[in-house]
């Protein structure tokens, strides 16, 4: 009997497959289907403090827009009883999700202000979430802001939230720090129970016809897994926090690689959006097949087995690997001479 179980955020999970935040998580029937398909936990879509603010301001603006200006049309909309603005709708979703599934439900929060982070984090805890993932999506556009200051903001934030909650706290990071390992350690020391590697920042694109900057949403592809594997392998053993891999996890092989790099769980979004929720069951079956064929007894057995600490040639994770890649590329693609 192969043991797929793992521990993440102090929770015992039946397997390392976690459904990560996506629009799919907004519907309870999808959460049930995820559980049925083998997800061991689910991270709900994020509560965005900024979005709450914007929605509230928009609603106020447009419900008032043009009102009290003309005697026949003193208003343009009925005044509804409740608009579910603020976090209430999200918190209710957390409550209903908890009631709908038996697997752990992890809330996700993207805040703006310190007060907002703590306030909403507490509310998500009160709503019954088993853990909370902090989705730190901050674009430091101010040239006066140093990397050190940004990092300290992250550390302070994690410490403040950690102190105000009793449930475990995971931190979802980007990978554009100058010293990722150092940041990871400082977050670990600030109390993060898990580090989720890495956030995928949605960057805008340019529309050349209209000369507009337009938002884009591209789903992940398996090649994005590599940077996650890389840093998981490096951080494994250097931080007490659990490590989760998210981004580029599409098939059972990706999950296996994540485990071997040292992750406790592998999170999936894009694959579920493109292939459907049932894909989880296929990944789980693929895991079992692979492990059975190679006689692995448990996931725990492989976790960290190919981390920086555990591989025979750690230089592969360092600069030497870069050189190796370049030379292998040069061998396969010799420069073309001017004579051609």
């Amino acid at each position: 009997m192969i043991d797929l179980s793992t521990r993440y955020l102090g929770l015992r999970l039946a397997n390392p497959l976690v459904a990560s935040p996506s629009p799919l998580c907004e519907r309870l029937d999808n959460l049930r289907r995820m559980e049925d398909a083998g997800a061991a936990a689910v991270v709900l879509h994020s509560l965005f403090e900024e979005q709450i603010d914007v929605e509230s301001q928009h609603l106020d603006r447009y419900l008032s827009y043009g009102s009290e200006s003309y005697a026949e049309s003193i208003s343009y909309f009925p005044d509804l009883h409740d608009y579910n603005l603020g976090p209430d709708g999200y918190l209710e979703h957390v409550r209903r999700a908890k009631a709908a599934v038996d697997i752990p439900v992890i809330g996700s929060l993207n805040g703006v202000s310190t007060g907002g982070w703590i306030n909403f984090a507490r509310k998500i805890q009160q709503a019954g979430a088993d853990a909370l993932e902090l989705n730190i999506f901050y674009v430091p556009t101010d040239p006066a802001l140093t990397g050190r200051e940004v990092e300290q903001m992250y550390v302070d934030l994690v410490r403040d939230v950690r102190r105000s909650l009793s449930i475990p706290v995971a931190v979802k990071l980007g990978h554009s720090f100058s010293a990722t390992a150092n940041v990871a350690r400082r977050l670990d020391e600030a109390g993060a129970d898990a580090l989720v590697l890495f956030n995928r920042f949605y960057l805008p694109d340019f529309d050349l016809d209209r000369l507009d900057v337009v938002p884009t949403l591209t789903l992940s592809n398996p090649s994005e897994l590599l940077v996650r594997l890389h840093w998981t392998a490096i951080l494994y053993g250097h931080v007490d926090a659990d490590i989760a891999v998210t981004g580029g996890v599409h098939g059972p092989e990706d999950v296996l690689k994540a485990m071997m790099a040292g992750a406790r769980v592998a999170m999936m979004t894009s694959a579920l959006l493109t292939r459907g929720i049932d894909h989880l069951s296929r990944v789980r079956a693929g895991l079992l097949d692979w492990m059975e064929a190679r006689e692995y007894a448990s996931i725990a057995q492989m976790q960290g087995s190919m981390s920086y600490r555990s591989v025979g040639e750690p230089a592969a994770f360092e600069r030497a690997n870069y050189m190796k890649v370049l030379s292998s590329y040069a061998l396969r693609h010799p420069p073309r001479g001017p004579g051609r």
């Binding site: 301001q57 106020d60 026949e72 603005l85 603020g86």
Partner: protein, 1188 residues
């Protein structure tokens, strides 16, 4: 709390009545019409919230397609045993009259609540008088009149209770706006009161009389001469009993509440020698005036008629003191040609029949269309009665210098109580002033023992409109249903008003003036116009100032200074202690905005705190220092009528315009909007002539025709102002001509639509386009001069234009300009295009609605005249009849043209070749039309030389030999709902009319009620839970006729397609229907992005573009041509840019999700249907001649 320990409430008359009607009804049939719409809106909202009626059931609220429909549904519901009611006014009541006869004839308990309003005669008016209810007085309904918000709630309950006992249906009315919209503090009628008034056994009896197959009967039979008369008389006992029943119910109400009413209430001196008889809110004024005069030794009184039908003659006679020597009966209606207005004739008959000595009885008219009826006017009537032979058939409140009916009055006479705080606030609609004042009334009304009253006056523009709030607070109930003319507090929330309005006219000596001013306490005095300074000094006013606009910007309130100015009012006025006031304001903010989210509450709290920090009292100097006068309302070069009449209305002096100055038949000059420079845009577009590609898109979309282009010979630039811009014209055929794109800074509303559609972006900095919005103020003087110079350039391009190109159309002069439509309106660009393409020969039949309001509201009209004296001829008949109205125009034109052609033929030998040319003229192009005009001109000259009846006859008809273009224009409320039957008939008629439906998918003008054009999933009034049904496909229905040209257009989706469809529709020699997507303020998004949203509507498939041209069938081609691509954008990506959809997603997420999914399916299904149709082969054998 009241003396009886009941909590008082603060609300307006409509809500007060709706609360009672809702509690006592099972079925509520509604249709929007001002000023009654809000009663239906409340009912719909409460039903959506599942609030129960008195019997714990949630009433069913059903919107119909017209008031006629509502009355029919009401009749049916009543016949089936429901307790049913409806709300209406004005033309709506007229449409209910046929059913009212039926409902009364069948002795059916029912209540019609009417916010009484003027009828459309020489003009439409949305304001209050009794013309509508008087038109219903013969129907057999009982009529109860209320004169205040308290009475409206009380007598609404009396009407519902009495109708069940009497079996006579009731019409309960109260004055539109004055009572329906006045906010007052009253003692509510509660459920226990209602239970005491309404006997359930009578409800059961009503049900027992209902139609049922279990005990079948027939009603509505046809009767012959043998029995109809007798049967009609058979109902007499019910009418005889009715007054007593009403009094019994009034007495029961008095037992419960202490408020005693009678069929006719007398108030005044018991030994009065002069009495006024009235109904409605005017009686309140008269009563207060009588009390004032009696306290000064006079002996006067007021008879307030509450039950008007059945007319309580005996009660009236009994209530009239025997000492009365003279009686004046005042009617708030006009019945031209009658021996007197209805109430007068009724009183006259009652007193004559009473057999007692007749006092002198005179009559007068007052208060039409909410004309003020003030204590001064009431006193004038009492004074008139002093004379031995008082005038009769007089008017009061106007200056009639034609038939000299009017009584004079002393405008300085006032009975205002000294312990009443009277505050007048001047604001913009957009700055939230009215909302804040409504909040203030609630605060004072509900948090203190003081009584409160609020009434709000709006101007006739939808963009940049001014509001004036009149608030009274005092220790006693406030019975003053007239505007404040002696204010102890005046606030001007927009500094610019000081330059164009005499805002201090209402300030009493010693009053406080609060200014929202960009100039601080040290500078503000020198910025005030001379008349303002002079009045401040003369009246000894205290002056306070705050830069509320800056504070609002800083705390994130945008342009809404409401909370800031409200806080200042409380801080200065002392109505409440400051700390208490701040706490109360914040409490009110939480109540008002809490549902909209904590961030909104937070910013309003910040506004309160910041307001107090930035408020300053300004030391008033001892002398006038300014030399600047108020700006004249119109320039001196305006035409005489505009200078002498229009200007007075613009300046707020319309009440002073005498009868002789106004046309007797409702006919007004066109092209007057150009004289009313409203100067409301903070930002205007600025042109970069180097970047501009001269595409004309900005000119096309400008809703107000304020951005225009001309191409002209370079020599025309001689004398141009230094800042006047031009560029080489990008028309090869125009050689060295120059091009100018010019903005009228004082007509622009700053909507930004033009900037958003501009495709020319800078290659080095993409945010910079060929037009950018820039602050107006620094450019104002230069651009005014540039605009004046621009107008002087030749209107005609230096060569022929191709009206099929957007680029060329920009050079056609618009004959629809500077309307008062909302900034960024989605309708007006289509009307402007119509005027550019066909304006010189267009007749426009305009359905009532937004387009008739911004098209025809006094004081000015945007429909314009060109230098040749030609332009669209425009008329509004009604809401429901517009298609027929336009058809009538077509029929008349065709008949006249046929007659003219016959005459030309008869005079052929005397006209020579001109006659043949006239009859054979080809007018399918504008050039052909122009040539025919030349011929008609020649014909006129020739006819002057000919004598004889036929020549004179032909001269009077000659103009119709030039083809006329008949346009039937209206919104979706007209085309899809109330006017659909007529529209269908007109389309079926085959006549050559062009129908333009400005489809905003909602009743925009009356404030956003659902129409059948409202899409599935959108929230609207009357669809507070989201519309569950799909949008009616009017185009599809019209296409099934086969002979109707149909096009669905969206200017923002494809402007060239819009242009093509307009031209094809007009050229088609049969009925043409253009359905134009019109983004609207009622959609809830920034209209600056209106054209982007139109494009999204097309891309999502919500608004597929197509043309159905029956002419193609004759060529063997498929008439239906799909002109947009298959849906490529998820419907959500279009819909969820708009509050009408997102508010449902917030309030009812599951419902919203489901309706969105269904709407997405609708889109795809409709696309498949159209695609299939468009690909169907056509039987080429069908002869074209078979077409109508």
């Amino acid at each position: 709390m009241s003396e009886r320990g009941r909590a008082r409430i603060t609300l307006d008359g409509n809500e007060a009545v709706a609360r009672i009607a809702y509690k006592l009804s099972d079925v509520i049939a509604i249709y929007p019409i001002t000023p009654s719409s809000t009663m239906g809106e409340w009912a719909d909202q409460w039903a959506a919230q599942e609030q129960p009626n008195l019997w714990s059931a949630v009433p069913t609220v059903v919107e119909l397609q017209s008031e006629g429909g509502a009355a029919g549904a009401l009749h049916g519901a009543l016949q089936t045993g429901a307790l049913a009611t409806t709300f209406t006014a004005s033309q709506g009541l007229l449409l209910m009259i046929p059913n009212m006869y039926k409902i009364a004839g069948e002795l059916t308990p029912a209540v019609f609540h009417v916010a009484a309003r003027s009828l459309a005669t020489q003009a439409l008016s949305i304001f209050g008088d009794h013309s509508d209810v008087m038109a219903a007085r013969a129907t057999g309904v009982a009529m109860l009149a209320s004169g205040s918000v308290q009475e409206a709630m009380d007598l609404a309950a009396v009407a519902h209770a009495a109708t069940l006992r009497a079996r006579v249906p009731f019409l309960h009315f109260f004055d539109g706006f004055r009572t329906s919209h006045e906010v007052a503090k009253i003692e509510p009628v509660d459920d226990a009161d209602l239970r005491a008034l309404v006997d359930d056994r009578l409800v059961h009896a009503h049900r027992a009389r209902a139609l049922s197959p279990e005990h079948p009967v027939v009603r509505g039979t046809a009767q012959n001469p043998d029995i109809y008369f007798q049967a009609r008389e058979a109902a007499n006992p019910y009418y005889v009993a009715c007054p007593t029943i009403v009094q019994d119910v009034m007495d029961a109400l008095a037992t419960r509440t202490g408020r005693a009413y009678h069929l006719v209430d007398y108030a005044g001196a018991p030994d009065a020698d002069r009495v006024v008889v009235m109904m409605g809110s005017g009686a309140e004024t008269a009563e207060e005036t009588a009390a004032f005069l009696n306290a000064r030794g006079e002996r006067v009184g007021v008879l307030k008629v509450r039950l008007y039908r059945p007319f309580p003659a005996a009660a009236l006679v009994a209530a009239l003191p025997v000492t009365v020597r003279a009686v004046a009966v005042l009617d708030r209606t006009k019945e031209p040609g009658s021996p007197g207005e209805p109430l007068y004739l009724d009183v006259l008959a009652a007193l004559a029949e009473a057999g007692r000595p007749m006092p002198t009885i005179v009559c007068g008219r007052y208060g039409l269309s909410s004309k003020e009826f003030t204590p001064a006017m009431a006193r004038a009537v009492f004074d008139e009665l002093r004379g031995a032979r008082p005038r009769t058939h007089f008017t009061i409140g106007i200056h009639d210098d034609v038939t000299h009916t009017s009584l004079p009055w002393d405008p300085d006479f006032s009975i205002e109580q000294p312990d009443t705080v009277r505050a007048v606030f001047y604001g913009l609609g957009a700055d939230g002033t009215v909302g804040a004042n409504k909040n203030s009334i609630k605060i004072i009304g509900e948090d203190t023992d003081a009584h409160a009253q609020g009434y709000f006056v709006y101007d006739s523009k939808k963009s940049g409109s001014m509001t004036v709030s009149h608030l009274r607070f005092g220790p006693r109930p406030i019975r003053a249903p007239y505007l404040i003319t002696r204010a102890s507090f005046v606030a001007c929330h927009q500094f610019a008003f000081l330059e164009r309005l005499d805002v201090l006219r209402v300030a009493e000596p010693g009053a406080v003036l609060l200014l929202n001013s960009p100039h601080g306490p040290a500078e503000v005095w020198d910025r005030l116009p001379r008349p303002v300074q002079a009045q401040i000094l003369a009246k000894g006013l205290r002056l306070f100032v705050i830069d509320g606009t800056r504070v609002a910007q800083e705390v994130g309130m945008g342009g809404r200074v409401n909370t800031i100015m409200q806080t200042c009012f409380f801080a200065i006025s002392g109505v409440l202690p400051r700390e208490e006031a701040v706490a109360a304001i914040k409490h009110a903010i939480e109540k008002t905005y809490g549902r909209r989210g904590e961030p909104v509450v937070r910013k309003n709290f910040a506004a309160v705190d910041a307001a107090l920090e930035h408020l300053h009292e300004v030391p008033v100097p001892d002398r006038v220092t300014a030399t600047v006068e108020l700006r004249p309302p119109v320039p001196p070069e305006a035409p005489a009528f505009v200078r002498e009449v229009t200007a007075r209305i613009i300046a707020g002096d319309g009440d002073l315009v005498p009868v002789s100055a106004l046309p007797a038949d409702g006919t007004y000059p066109s092209g007057t909007a150009r004289w009313e420079k409203r100067n409301i845009a903070a930002e205007i577009p600025a042109w970069d002539e180097g970047l501009c590609i001269q595409c004309g898109k900005c000119v096309l979309v400008c809703p107000h025709a304020v951005i225009r282009a001309k191409v002209y010979e370079p020599a025309a630039l001689a004398g141009a102002p230094a800042s006047f811009k031009s560029a080489p014209a990008k028309w090869r055929e125009f050689g060295e001509a120059r091009y100018t794109l010019q903005v009228s800074p004082e007509d622009c509303t700053g909507c930004g639509l033009c900037v958003e559609v501009c495709p020319a972006k800078s290659k080095s900095e993409v945010r910079h386009r060929a037009i950018d919005m820039v602050p107006q103020q620094p450019r104002h003087d230069a651009e005014v001069a540039n605009w004046d110079f621009f107008l002087g350039l030749p209107d005609a391009a230096p060569g022929p234009l191709n009206a099929g190109l957007v680029k060329d159309v920009q050079l056609l002069e618009p004959l629809f300009e500077f309307s008062g439509a909302c900034a960024g309106c989605g309708e007006t660009p289509y009307l402007k295009l119509l005027s550019q393409l066909f304006g010189e020969r267009a007749l426009v039949a305009n359905a009532t609605g937004c387009s008739s309001i911004y098209g025809g509201s006094q004081p000015t009209t945007p429909w314009a005249v060109n230098a040749r004296g030609r332009g669209p001829a425009w008329a509004n008949s009604l809401f429901e009849d517009n298609a027929e109205f336009g058809l009538g125009m077509r029929v008349a034109l065709d008949a006249q043209a046929a007659c003219a052609r016959r005459l030309v033929a008869r005079l052929a030998d005397r006209l020579g070749p001109l006659g043949d040319a006239l009859l054979g003229a080809e007018q399918s192009t504008e050039a052909g039309v122009a040539a025919q005009r030349e011929r008609v001109s020649a014909l006129r000259s020739r006819l002057r030389e000919l004598d004889g009846a036929e020549a004179r006859e032909l001269a009077s008809l000659a103009d119709v030999l030039v083809d006329k273009s008949v346009w039937i224009v209206g919104g979706d409320g007209w085309a899809y709902d109330i006017g659909f039957g007529g529209l269908d008939h007109v389309l079926a008629s085959g006549r050559n009319v062009n129908v333009l439906v400005l489809d905003t998918e909602v009743y925009s003008n009356t404030g956003g009620q659902m129409s059948k054009a409202t899409p599935r999933g959108a929230v609207a009034k009357f669809a507070a839970g989201g519309k569950t049904g799909g949008k009616k496909d009017l185009a599809l229905m019209a296409m099934t006729y086969g002979h109707v040209y149909v096009a669905r257009v969206a200017m923002g989706g494809n402007d060239a397609h819009t242009l093509r469809a307009f031209r094809e529709a007009e050229a088609y020699r049969g009925p043409a229907l253009l359905i134009a997507y019109s983004h609207c303020i009622a959609h809830g998004f920034d209209l600056r992005h209106g054209m982007d949203q139109q494009r999204a509507a097309v891309q999502s498939g919500h608004w597929p573009l197509f043309r159905y041209d029956p002419a193609l069938a004759g060529e063997g081609k498929q008439p239906l041509q799909l002109d947009s691509k298959p849906p490529s954008l998820p419907l959500k990506s279009y819909a969820y840019n708009e509050t009408r959809y997102t508010m449902l997603a917030h309030s009812h997420p599951d419902t919203a999700r489901q309706l969105l999914a269904e709407a997405q399916r609708d889109v795809l299904a409709r696309w498949r249907l159209y695609e299939h149709w468009a690909s169907m082969p056509v039987d080429a054998a069908a002869p074209a001649e078979e077409r109508p």
